[in-house]
């Protein structure tokens, strides 16, 4: 309980820190999602993409 109450008291209790936490986590969340989906896309289409063929020119 100690950890969750510390998090609650330092971040979620005040609107200012809560909003800041939203912004920062949104940034990291989007980066992760972008990188993750790009990795899936490149894995599925390995060998067909421009990045795979440009070195062979």
């Amino acid at each position: 309980m100690a950890l969750s109450s510390t998090i609650y008291n330092t971040i979620f209790k005040r609107t200012s820190t809560f909003a800041l936490a939203c912004g920062i986590s949104a940034f990291f969340f989007e980066r992760t999602l972008d990188l993750g989906s790009e990795t899936v896309f490149e894995k599925v289409n390995q060998g067909k993409l421009w990045n795979d063929m440009k070195d062979k020119l």
Binding site: L33, D34, G36, S37, E38, F41, V44, K48, K56
Partner: protein
Amino acid sequence: MAATVGRICGAGLLKSANGASVTQISSFSTSREWTRGRKALMGTLGMLAGGTGALLFALDRSVKASDLELHPPKNPWSHDGILSSLDHAGIRRGYEVYKQVCAACHSMRFIAYRNLIGVSHTEAEAKAEAEEIMVTDGPDELGNMFKRPGKLSDYFPSPYPNEEAARAANNGAYPPDLSYIVDARHGGEDYIFALLTGYCDPPAGAVIREGQYFNPYFPGGAISMAQALYNEAMEYTDGTPATASQLAKDVSTFLKWTSEPDFDDRKRMFIKAVGIFSILIALTYYLKRHKWSSIKTRKIEFKPRN
């Protein structure tokens, strides 16, 4: 036609006694207060509307069945499939085919050399491609138009200055602009492939006039474009054997890209959307359970006074 109407009638839509729920429904109905005449009118109108719909449906079916058109077979393209991207080596070869064969007759006015960068060519290569053409620019300080080598921002050159010149050079037929041709024809890239590889001798009875050729995939069969692709009609820079079907496949892939330049981005977006919506659905489900938990676990007790 009769079968269609029969199907609708057979579905029990027009029957008045339709199970036990009819008595329940009829207490909500407003038609009970209608006069006999009004009921008859509404009934007739309903029959007419349904009949017209069924007739249109039947006519549409029969037109499709009587079409004298050869539909292109479906090919297993490497970009079929919900996550698959276009084959970029194929796009590059297809560009070579377009440039060396099709560009002699077909324009591609909506694709610029800058569009090739990062898709099939590096920036330096695209610049070199652009510099091969001469573009009319101007006016200069004296008001004269002048010629200059192409730049990255220039669009692909057209073989003819206008449609009339194109028709005059092609026996009256206009070679359509190929920029969006894959989306402009039924069957898409399958049709393009079938059209380019489908030339054959006309069967007995087919009317082929001077300057026309027989192609079963072209609506009507008589097309004013001669067969353009043959085995070894050109050479690929990457050494791929240039069979007619390889040329047709690559140029179809290239035309698919020009028609849908956003193709790969759409697939990327799809993966992203699946990711984010699965998170959101899980979250929504949890939130719903959370909010309803107090209601679902509530007990109502009835205590009589005595």
